[in-house]
């Protein structure tokens, strides 16, 4: 019984769990963490795509029509890079890359590297699809991750689906940015 209590206590903390990483393992980021770690948060519509090489890597660049900017680094964003694609006769496969649909509206948590490459945070965690519910409310939705995610200490955590009114998501982003100051 004593062991069981330790077991329960330990699980609640989930400390020291040994969980392998993989190509598609994500470090779980909350909306607040994504807000703070991103360099830009935007609401945008995907208007097109192209593929191009960048060094030895190939990216598919999705062109964006910016509808709202919730966080800005001051750098104008016109497109976001998703790893993988075809260029110069070579196909590069990036398993687990998100699939953005042309014409679809999203809230995107973006991160621009020091070298100037703008990508989505956490491969697909930073993608919220915008849609309207039956009442006409604008929702930002992200399904739950089905694979294990790790928190900052490396412990596994359970993800939850997120369906939130876009204005409430924006408010969380603004609050997170305010709290970070």
């Amino acid at each position: 019984m004593r062991v069981f209590c330790r077991f329960a206590t330990g699980l609640a903390g989930l400390a020291g769990i040994l969980i392998p990483l993989s190509a598609t393992t994500l470090e779980r980021l909350t909306v607040e963490e994504m807000s703070q770690q991103s360099t830009a948060v935007i609401r945008a519509r995907v208007t097109g795509s192209r593929t191009a090489s960048r060094g030895t890597d190939i990216y598919t660049y999705f062109q964006l029509q910016i509808l709202e900017t919730w966080k800005s680094s001051g750098r104008a964003i016109t497109e976001v890079a998703v790893p993988g694609g075809v260029a110069n006769g070579v196909r590069q496969i990036a398993t687990g890359a998100p699939d953005l649909k042309i014409g679809q509206e999203y809230v995107l948590f973006l991160w621009t590297s020091r070298a100037g490459l703008t990508q989505i945070i956490g491969l697909s965690q930073g993608v919220f699809r915008i849609s309207a519910d039956d009442s006409g409310a604008v929702l930002a939705q992200r399904p739950a991750a089905t694979e294990l995610m790790l928190d900052r200490s490396g412990s596994p955590v359970t993800d939850s689906p997120i369906s939130i009114q876009a204005r409430d998501l924006r408010a969380r982003v603004v609050r997170a940015l305010g709290a970070a100051k």
């Binding site: 077991f7 330990g10 398993t95 890359a97």
Partner: protein, 879 residues
């Protein structure tokens, strides 16, 4: 009765030649068209484009920007190298992967390879990914080589490695790298808890990093000759309302936990190959749904047609065992035999909106009392009775702590049992149950069958039962001598001479047991005051990290001499040529079998290394004719010690005339072969065959020296030089130098001078425990008999060779000696050794078979062995 009939039907495996290796989808797969029949073409490295069937991998010389506190780059590199080496431990795989040193990003390379980089461009939230590069246009697959070539692969890690699980000393980092290297070689995700499974269900450990499914996968993609005939296959179809189901997972699962899987073709057909003989349950279940906005279920890229179209996975069905049951106790087993196919294992699946249960994560709580820690897919010792917990999509009613109605969890097979009365909600979305681990004689993975009234989910290797407790290290003490050799004494529990003691990613050598029960090992070389984390690994898959719970990991700090450095001669090589290189080290610890030398480019292949002493090595290298010019970094890695010489080698491209194609420079090719054996070692007096390129048709007036001694030579009909190796040369590397009358620059190469070959003197059959019968025409040997062969010069004048290195070829069938015993003559040990082995039952027909004995590159002359020929095979009929 019905099951008896089905069992009989499945046991009626149809003997069928496995003429091609196909099936299995967790490769990147292409089909020639959009309609069946679907013949898969997988993406893989073209072994014919790789020297020695070896793909080189490189680690970026731009290391990670940040590491976990206490971690260091040398340790990280050693773990990466250990992870890559894991794939070389599969004897049925023909591809080898070797460290090519540190690489400067942007180095132009024409030869396929693998790059490991620490990427500043990887965004937060993404830890690692691997990207294979494939031709965009695969053309007409039916007219190609039978596969799609991987041009290069890139393994990307974040430059910021400060997450706890990215520490080099965590098993997780190592297992991640094994997984990523698997991707880089052409493997996609598996669904059966293998190394190639996604993070939630992976059940491998650092001590046993590959599961049977991984071994089958890499072996099917790169099979060694004859391997497929040693395994069996299962074929069938998965259909829903008569329509084929694409990308359904189908798994063969034995009661001892072995799981081998495949995915269905677009028409629902499947074929599981590479199954070790035995009895198997077979089940099918849908792939788990895609994660968030990922493109595909289970993060598996679906097959493409040759025009770029893809065949999406169908996941709208419920899992089931064959034949159409969710109760594993009602399932029938298929008897898989070597070289045979079990056909018509067909599934008629039931529709449902999608998988209701998937991605289950099982945790145990292991460690000494008071120091327990959670362990993923735990290894439990026979006799264990305790809690395990798990979570998984679909196990709870959404937004509640109520179990899904009708949820049941059972252990498959005899190794463990779950106590159903304890199944309940635990905390934080986890459920708990109690497991009883039964007696086993070897590590036995246990699959769980999770059922609801309308679905089945099977998780292979959810836990593993092991016969005895795992290793633990309680204390470490040691010292480093003036040459940098660490001698370390280790105390702990459940250690043995079979235990592998790792210093970071490098194994200790020369493990010896002391009278007080402790063990003394020789630590692998390291640089300076390096602190290595120690870990004990046992053959049953247990690791001291898991066994020791939250106890701190033991360490050893070296007190090595001054910083090592290397230099090389020559410093310039020409594309399209082979040559010898000398590497000289100061404060280095070169060791035979441990030192790897690389040149930071897949266009420069090290063909062989001779370690002369701790500071001197000789190499034969080959430089791709298509190599671009430039400077590359030279790396010499031994243990944890990795010494670099930045910009240490200049590659000169082949000079091209103003018009026309490039001119092949004059070169001798390596390896230099023995005419008698075709192997890369020649005894004095033997004839060396030296392939060459760019030489004139006539070599009149040219001279050849071997080991500095003039050697007569001729040129054969293939333009190869044939030279008799002069007598008196010492064993080991000897310089082969060809000189033209004009003293044209032709780089020398090395040939290995072997000891004289062994000679078979007699063969005996052990008919009784005490009686040996000389094998001749009147007393032929029978397949399965224990034979003894007396062999002279087996050890070649050197130290005694181990039995495992002695190969006996009979009728082309390889046998490995099981024991060696010196023969006494006049009471003294002679140079004759009695070699024992068991005669294979798979010999070709014929009453006499040629027999040779080989140790390394030394092969005996052929000896005729009289055998009882195998009975002729009766042709079987296919019903």
């Amino acid at each position: 009765m019905r099951h008896t009939i089905l069992r009989a039907a499945l046991a009626l495996a149809i003997l069928f030649g496995l003429t091609s290796v196909s099936s299995a989808y967790y490769y990147w797969t292409y089909f020639p068209g959009t309609a069946g029949p679907f013949q898969p073409y997988s993406a893989k490295f073209d072994l014919s484009a790789l020297l020695d069937k070896t793909v080189l991998y490189f680690i970026s010389d731009k290391g990670p920007g940040k590491l976990v506190d206490g971690d260091n780059y040398d340790a990280l590199v050693s773990q990466i190298r250990l992870a890559a080496e894991t794939w070389n431990a599969v004897p049925s795989s023909d591809i080898r992967i070797r460290f090519g040193g540190f690489e400067t990003l942007g180095t132009a390379q024409a030869t396929p390879g693998i790059d490991v980089v620490f990427d500043d461009d990887m965004p937060p939230g993404l830890l690692a990914q691997t990207k294979p590069f494939l031709p965009a246009d695969v053309g007409d697959l039916t007219k190609g080589p039978g596969f799609v070539p991987i041009l290069r692969s890139k393994v990307q890690l974040r430059s910021d490695l400060t997450l706890k699980q990215q520490a080099s000393y965590s098993d997780t980092f190592f297992l991640t790298m094994v997984h990523e290297f698997g991707h880089s070689l052409g493997l996609q995700h598996s669904t059966v808890s293998a190394s190639m499974s996604t993070v939630t269900t992976r059940a491998t450990t650092k001590a046993r990093p590959l599961a049977a499914d991984d071994i089958a996968a890499i072996s099917l993609l790169y099979p060694v000759a004859g391997w497929t005939a040693t395994t069996g296959s299962i074929t069938g179809r998965v259909a829903l309302n008569g329509n084929g189901v694409n990308l359904a997972s189908v798994t063969a699962l034995s009661a001892n936990g072995t799981a081998i899987s495949a995915l269905t073709n677009p028409d629902g057909s499947y074929r599981i190959d590479g199954i070790p003989p035995g009895d198997y349950y077979i089940y099918t279940q849908p792939l788990p749904p895609p994660q968030q906005d990922e493109l595909t279920p289970a993060a598996i890229v679906p097959p493409s047609d040759s025009h770029g179209g893809s065949f999406a996975a169908f996941t709208g069905f419920a899992g089931q065992f064959f034949p159409h049951t969710r109760d594993w106790t009602q399932a029938v087993t298929a008897s898989v035999k070597a070289g045979a196919i079990v056909p018509n294992v067909n599934f008629d699946v039931d529709p449902r909106p999608g998988p209701s249960i998937y991605s289950m994560n099982v945790l145990g709580y292991l460690g000494p009392s008071g120091k327990e820690a959670y362990v993923h897919t735990p290894l439990l010792v026979s006799g264990y009775r305790g809690w395990i917990v798990f979570n998984g999509a679909g196990t709870l009613v959404p937004n509640s702590t109520n179990l899904t109605p009708g949820l049941a969890v059972n252990a498959i097979g005899p190794a463990a049992r779950l106590e159903p009365q304890y199944l309940g909600y635990f905390t934080a979305g986890y459920l708990l149950t109690v497991v009883d681990a039964n007696q086993v004689s070897q590590p036995t993975p246990v699959a769980l069958a999770v059922t609801t009234p309308n679905d089945l989910y099977v998780l292979p290797a959810a836990l593993t039962v092991v016969p005895s407790a795992g290793p633990a290290i309680s204390s470490v003490s040691g010292s480093t001598d003036a040459l940098g050799n660490g001698s370390v004494t280790i105390k702990g529990d459940n250690l043995s001479q079979d235990t592998r003691v790792m210093f970071d990613g490098a194994p200790a050598t020369a493990i010896q047991k002391n009278d007080d029960g402790s063990f003394t090992v020789t630590a692998p070389p390291a640089i300076g005051a390096h602190t290595a984390v120690l870990e004990a690994l046992t053959n049953d898959g247990q690791t001291s990290i898991q066994t020791m719970g939250t106890l701190p990991q033991p360490t050893f700090t070296y007190a090595s001499p001054d910083h090592p450095s290397i230099s090389i001669t020559p410093g310039t090589v020409t594309a399209g040529t082979d040559m010898m290189i000398e590497v000289d080290g100061i404060n280095t610890n070169f060791a035979d079998g441990q030192t790897v030398i690389g040149f930071g480019s897949s266009d420069v292949s090290v063909r062989r290394i001779w370690i002369l002493d701790r500071g001197r090595a000789l190499l034969n290298i080959s430089v791709n004719a298509a190599a671009s010019g430039g400077l590359v970094t030279v790396t010499a890695a031994t243990g944890i010690q990795a010494v670099t010489l930045p910009a240490g080698l200049q590659i000169q491209p082949i000079a091209a005339p103003a018009s026309g194609s490039a001119i092949q420079p004059m070169t001798l090719r390596v390896p230099v072969l023995n005419l008698a054996t075709g192997l890369a070692g020649v005894p004095t007096g033997g004839t060396a065959v030296i392939v060459n390129a760019g030489l004139p048709a006539s070599l009149s007036g040219w001279t050849l020296t071997i080991g500095g001694v003039h050697a007569d030579f001729t040129v054969d009909s293939n333009s190869n030089i044939r030279a008799v190796v002069p007598g008196g040369l010492p064993l080991g590397p000897a310089v082969v130098k060809l000189t033209s009358p004009n003293s044209d620059p032709i780089a020398p190469v090395l040939v290995n001078i072997d000891a004289q070959p062994p000679a078979i003197q007699a063969a005996y059959d052990q008919h009784t425990a005490t009686t040996l019968t000389f094998v001749d025409a009147l007393h032929p040997a029978a397949p399965g008999d224990v034979l003894f062969v007396d062999v002279g010069k087996l050890n070649g004048g050197g130290p005694a060779v181990p039995a495992s290195s002695v190969h006996i070829s009979i009728g082309g069938v390889d046998h490995i000696a099981t024991s060696l015993a010196p023969i006494l003559e006049f009471g003294l040990i002679s140079d004759v050794v009695r070699v024992q082995f068991t005669l294979s039952t798979g010999l070709p027909g014929g009453a006499t078979q040629p027999m040779t004995v080989r140790i390394g590159t030394r092969v005996s002359p052929s000896y005729t062995l009289n055998v009882i020929p195998p009975a002729p095979v009766q042709p079987s009929k296919q019903n």
